[in-house]
Amino acid sequence: MMTIFGYKKNYQMYDPKKKYTDKHIRKHSKNNGSNDKYRKSIEDLLDELELKNGMTISFHHHLRNGDYILNRLMKEIAKRNIKDIRIFASSIFPCHEPLVEYIESGVVTQIIAAFISGPVAKTISQGKMEKVAIMHTHGGRARLVESGEVDIDVAFIAAPTCDKMGNITGSCGKSACGSLGYAVTDAHFAKCSVAITDHYVEHLGSVFIEGKYIDYIVEMESIGDSKGIVSGTTQITKNPIGLKIARLTSDVIYHSGYFKNGFSFQTGAGGTSLAVSYYVKQLMMKEKIKGSFASGGITGYLVDMLKDGLFEQLYDVQCFDLEAISSLRDNKNHIPISASKYANINDKCIINDLDFVILGATEIDLDFNVNVTTSSIGEIMGGSGGHSDTAYGANVTIIVSQLFNARIPVIKDKVLCKTTPGETVDVLVTERGIAVNPKRNDLIERFKKTNLPLKTINELKQISDSLVGIPDKIQFDEKIVGVVEYRDGSVIDFIHKKL
């Protein structure tokens, strides 16, 4: 086994035959926070905290590309000459560009996250970070914290509204972002939890993170840019190819054998995913089928389906738009859940009850392994998020993608980086046909009786190759810059520096 700088020595490689057995779960390690939690400013707070070289600090990404907190905190920490910081953030976005400088100067030596995009991802791919990046899943993040594998020294929690006790909600305030699903575990287990808010109130009625887990409260003029936090209204795609793929996907759902009363469903916020929701909604109304729940990141489309009685509940780790935020606040059947409840392998998680999940891919290979971590030229540009969690949990995992776009083909002989293992992926839907994983003979038999355009994944690849040609091989350096951890903590792949 190779030794990788900044990664544990006793790591296990992913093995589809092995079931994860380590059910190591810590009790909440938390003190009860003092009564006098309010600090005047971030400077005051940092003066009081015993910041040390080598410490682990955590952030969560519900403010998405509008987040001000991470940059503000890192600027203060860098000023105090603290080095070797490990950042444990649920996701890193383009707005976190200032981190690049801190990575290059050694203030930050490691990032652990479920998703990394933008300039920080590029810097890591270039091999400029001292230690290896660890890329986990959303469920894996909760597992890492609960098992004690990652010990958070200070958790910085973006609190759109916070009261004097430290009770937090994301439902109101000028930086409202809805669910705070990824922050819950941090608050429960960090040695010290800090709520950072731009809406400080006397008393909060509806609470998502309880004040007993919060040690300090600091006010900031603004914790985020509302334009980056949510999109106004998410739109379904107008691209005819995307619409065709979405319609085929709803046909796959219809004929799968799982489309019946009480079914459950998850999809993302991309244009094609939203179009799938649209067609599934039409199908449910036409066939008079009612679902049990939809989960994941929630959009206005799913909110409408809840209002129309098509689903009984929405389980929400993250709101994608304003409709989702107001629904979470006003509708008792729109339920915020923690990342652990959502997808942690050691928890009784929601995703195990999923019938359908609709996911994307930058690459899929002949064994149905999916890459959403690196681009088609091998640079980090994303990460699993909940991809491999939901693929594992759902009865039917459907990957939707154009066969190629701007000459970039989706089907490869081997993916450059394995995010989600092929044995958890069931169907690939493209505009030129549908491929079913051979291990799902039940689905193949059902689909054969329909007029679905069934092909093997090899046949789809041949069509693609004949149009775009075979891409030249991408060259990598030996140096490992990232470790991709599967949801059970095993290593499913390594990311190499680009040559």
């Binding site: 030229i377 776009n405 701007a406 000459r407 149009l467 040609g469 891409p471 030249d472 991408i474």
Partner: protein
């Protein structure tokens, strides 16, 4: 055939290629920018070179900005640019 004047064809849209041809002393030179340079750069240059050869064009500088065009699109854009550049209309 001889290129008589600068000519262009194509767009900057995704899946298209923008081709500019300039009269050059005696050799063919290709300057390519592409979103898929690493994986298809050689192939794109080959298609352009073959198309120019098919039309016996020798005195040309090609500047191309590619947004992921397929081979037939590249060929069509190059041919159109040639036709526009060889007549004095």
């Amino acid at each position: 055939m001889k290129l008589l004047k600068p000519s262009k064809a194509g767009t900057y849209e995704s899946n298209d290629i923008y081709i500019m041809l300039f009269p050059n002393d005696d050799e063919i030179r290709i300057e390519l920018e592409s979103i898929v340079l690493e994986t298809y750069g050689k192939q794109i240059k080959k298609v352009m070179m073959d198309t120019l050869n098919d039309h016996n064009i020798e005195n040309v500088l090609v500047k191309a900005i590619d947004k992921g065009a397929l081979d037939y699109t590249i060929r069509a854009r190059v041919i159109t640019a040639i036709n526009r550049g060889v007549s004095n209309d």
